[in-house]
Symmetry: C2
């Protein structure tokens, strides 16, 4: 049953072999199991890869094939892995999203992801089934330029800094609270982590059962991460946020940052002393290390939600191998958590790098990228059969039992309701008040496009079920990048708002924030056949239904076939005949 796919793979390899002689295959073997960890000194069971957390860093060069074989040792659970920011051109089945691109890898089984990393840049990977990302199931993925090619900026060393927010309760408890009709919110995080390390004040943990819970501030697993630099040199810091909820602000004591890369795309460089990072985003910043002291704080703070009980996450920038210690100086802190004007101003600073030497970057052209379809997605908080949900155009997303890609490719009867959700919200919806009727519909939200379509998509924010409240939603698109055309406050006006768009030099991204009571406009070209989620990257929000599915070019995928190893669950079973 694997023959068709093997042949397709071989064909790909031949094409690749002809056009890119330097491309290689980078292989990883991963064993996934629960491990005990204490990222913020509080001991907890989390998902580890090869026994470590965060997972191993994947490092490859542009056009390489990455091949990751992942064996599941997690008793009772299935797993998948999403390669965030990798478009999976020609390999939509390898996107690692449960209910969309594949059946979960069940206990005891192995699955091999194989895909091309077509664009250099900073990426990461994370679990994409249930809320497993929040259980620590993630790591970094870095794509270098091929030998002999150089970035349009210079640096002498580099470091990875993956940032996150962290809770002490396990995801099973958290998910149950979110799913229950007696809704229980996860609350704000206990800690903020840099490269998987934070520091919780253990005196706040009561002595309950020492055998069950330990919190130990001398545990070396929560010693702050130390990033070593040499005085006088310039470093590229690669930042990636896997946060489950929080927008994070990163700041280095006494150092300016020059932002040069966002979501794998070079941008017009700009200087800042603090950078907002929304969940799902990656950045590279250049830091010229001209400090006079031995150690400086790296600081991470919450933005966009209250930081009342969330202390600054800390790391150490350490010069010239001096003894590393946490300075006594005040913790670095960016703008106040509720300084939304500062966030919006920074968001608007991002422009595509003019004359970008990277031919794979997504240059925008007003003519080529003329809009063929406009969709407005209203983001609301609702109720469905007593459960609290997030909905898009009054449909809350429920994962399909049959992976969407297979359902479409094999046209499996009954697997998916192909009636598309509406392109627009109900006319006259008052975004400023909680919904008059809080009830929403449930569905799988599949928007079907034609390959080549250029979609203009407006994310429209609204009040939650709580009066005077609207939240930040960091949206992430799979399989494609988009251009960020603009942000605005209040209701999007189809006549007036487009006049405010950045038509000259919009940045290409795969993540974008939607601000409270505001709108965000993006455009993208449907040029990578497959089935692709577009969702709020807040783990808890997506679990509560905040996403839609996009599909196009299914005929092309069908011609090539999808590996049978991605099938076997839901109605994909009907594709198989027992033939022992």
């Amino acid at each position: 049953m694997g023959a068709r796919w093997a042949a397709a793979l071989l064909g790909l390899a031949m094409v690749a072999g002809m056009s890119m002689v330097s491309a290689k295959v980078v292989e990883y073997e991963w064993e996934v199991s629960y491990i005990n960890a204490a990222p913020d000194c509080y001991s907890k069971t989390i998902l580890g890869i090869n026994g470590i957390y965060p997972g191993p860093t994947i490092r490859a060069s542009q056009n390489d094939t990455v091949r990751v074989t992942m064996k599941n040792h997690v008793a009772t659970e299935g797993i998948t892995m999403h390669w965030h920011g990798i478009r999976q051109i020609g390999s939509p089945w390898a996107d690692g999203t449960a209910a969309v691109s594949q059946c979960p890898i069940v206990y005891g089984e192995s699955f091999t992801y194989e895909f091309t990393v077509d664009r250099p840049g900073t990426y990461f990977y994370h679990g994409h089934f249930g809320c497993q990302r929040a259980a620590g199931f993630y790591g970094s993925l870095i794509v270098d330029l091929p030998d002999g090619m150089y970035e349009p900026y210079h640096y002498e060393g580099e470091h990875m800094i993956i940032v996150n927010d962290w809770w002490h309760r396990g995801i099973i408890d958290q998910e149950q609270g979110l799913e229950s009709t007696t809704f229980k919110w996860v609350g704000e995080p206990q800690s903020l982590l840099l490269e998987g390390r934070g520091r919780y004040n253990c005196s706040k943990v009561p002595k309950y059962d020492p055998a069950a819970i330990s919190c130990n501030q001398t545990d070396e697993r929560c010693a702050p991460h130390v990033w070593k630099v040499e005085r006088g040199k310039t470093y590229r810091l690669r930042l990636a946020s896997v946060a489950s909820l929080s927008t994070l602000n990163f700041k280095i004591e006494g150092h300016m940052m020059q932002v040069v890369e966002a979501d794998g795309h070079n941008i017009e460089p700009f200087y800042t002393d603090n950078i907002d990072i929304y969940s799902g985003e990656t950045y590279s910043v250049l830091v010229h290390c001209n400090g006079t002291l031995d150690n400086y704080h790296l600081g991470l703070n919450v933005r966009g939600r209250t930081d009342k009980d969330v202390p600054t996450g800390l790391g150490i920038l350490n010069y010239n191998n001096a003894t590393a210690y946490q300075p006594n100086t005040p913790w670095p802190k960016g703008p106040a958590w509720d300084d939304f004007p500062a966030s919006k101003a920074q968001a608007k600073k991002y422009k595509a790098l003019r004359n970008n030497p990277d031919p794979t970057s997504h240059a925008f052209n007003k003519t080529e990228h003329a809009v063929t379809r406009t969709i407005i997605l209203l983001n609301t908080q609702n109720k469905y059969q007593g459960h609290t949900k997030w909905a898009i155009n009054n449909v809350t997303y429920a994962p399909l039992q049959t992976p969407l890609l297979a359902a479409l490719v094999y046209n499996i009867s009954g697997a998916v309701d192909l009636t598309p959700p509406p392109d627009y919200p109900t006319s006259g919806y008052n975004i400023f008040n909680p919904p008059a009727n809080p009830n929403t519909n449930v569905g799988s939200g599949v928007y079907q496009f034609n390959t080549g379509d250029v979609v203009e998509l407006i994310l429209q924010n609204a009040a939650t079920l709580t009066a005077n409240q609207s939240e930040v939603h960091p949206w992430h698109l799979h399989g494609h990048d988009f251009w960020i055309m603009g942000y605005g406050d209040g209701v999007y006006d189809p006549i007036k708002s487009p006049f405010t768009f950045e038509l000259d030099n919009p940045p290409a991204r795969n993540n974008v924030p939607l601000f409270p009571f505001g709108w965000t406009a993006i455009r993208f070209k449907l040029d990578n056949p497959g089935a692709w989620p577009f969702h709020c990257h807040v783990e808890w929000h997506f679990h509560m239904g905040m996403g839609v599915m996009f599909a196009h070019g299914i005929d092309q995928v069908r011609q090539k076939g999808i590996p049978s190893s991605t099938l076997g669950c839901g109605l994909t079973k009907t594709l198989f005949k027992l033939n022992p």
Copy 2:
């Protein structure tokens, strides 16, 4: 692919229809999800069925077909359900054991169990994947005699009492601790539960995060269960232990019990004021309600392990609808936890009911049941690659990736190592000391038999890795009952020990305890083709490898086929051809 099976089912139904006109189909539709519960006042996320815990009681009559369709709503996890004590005659695929009888039911999917309940009695069901039983995934299963047929004892009312031990930590934490090379034992339980209710002293829970953990002694979910009786009447109390670890002793304040049924078999009745219940066992006791007060304690205590921090579990026997309250009298308490002579004396009291009117009960006959093969299974605690394990004849059981039944029926190459483990332990093993070499081997431990074999099986206990320590192991056999031939202290002597056997009237059971530093002898006839686990019913011990697999009559199973709905994982995938 379902056609072959459907035909086989139809055939069965026709045979059943001809011979037993009164048999009916009893159907249940279950939705499985995580729920919040507070069995002992401490709030926790557990597995619920149709939103409740313990799960719904299944009630059917002898020879009925029970059909349970179970839908899995548990994000990321697979599930299975085992019908404990039901032999699954002719339906080995419906035994509900992951890695043996079926592939787990993955998230979003449904599976239908269908089996005949051939013998009246008291049974229960529980999850049999990972340690999900310990997450509250269980309920009662009662099989009545057909209309017009009567038990060989009389009662005027009946009640179910499912008993359990309970922990506050979640199973994911517990399993990780057991699996880790830095082994962390689960410890003794926090509470003992009667019919899913106990009472933890909430003052022992610190105020940590009220949103995360609550413990509230006025929570009605942990109000003691009240069993209502009328003065002057005799009640049948049906007891079943789903304990994860503890042997439990049940006692009713001021009332004697007459024990009449054990594991679905009528026994020679005997009176006692307290009854030991090992994990996996079921009993019926008759209680003549001649008390003069309104309320009496039902009490549950730990036996065989320290009860230092495990308070008595309590229920209320309430007369004539008086106001129910917990009496002020001392809590009922049986023998001291370490009074092993009392336990052994009680275990030896069980004899099969002479002239049992139940034709389905497993009468023992010295001639017919002459032993054709003897196996001695040495129970040891060991190490495997740094992990703490339990091993049988120096093989620790590791669940197969491919369900054993399917692997054998379809003779799937590479799915299972068919080399049987040894029939005897290493000669001269010193059971009184920790193993000289603590390292063990790993395997799936499949003993293959011929249908019709009568196996004499000796369970031999030994010291753990801790000097002077040996533990109680309640062993449970799937698919068959066995006769308990005898118990002894020290090393089983193949020459002398059989002279102590009960050859006259041994009780038929499917559960039997193995006492510290002792041996237990059982016999059983291989008369139900399939693949069947035999394992220590301590959830934590089986998870640590304390079990073996038995298989016989695979040709017969093959002729009938097994439903394709049980396949799809591991190497069963190779049985299918993609044919969209």
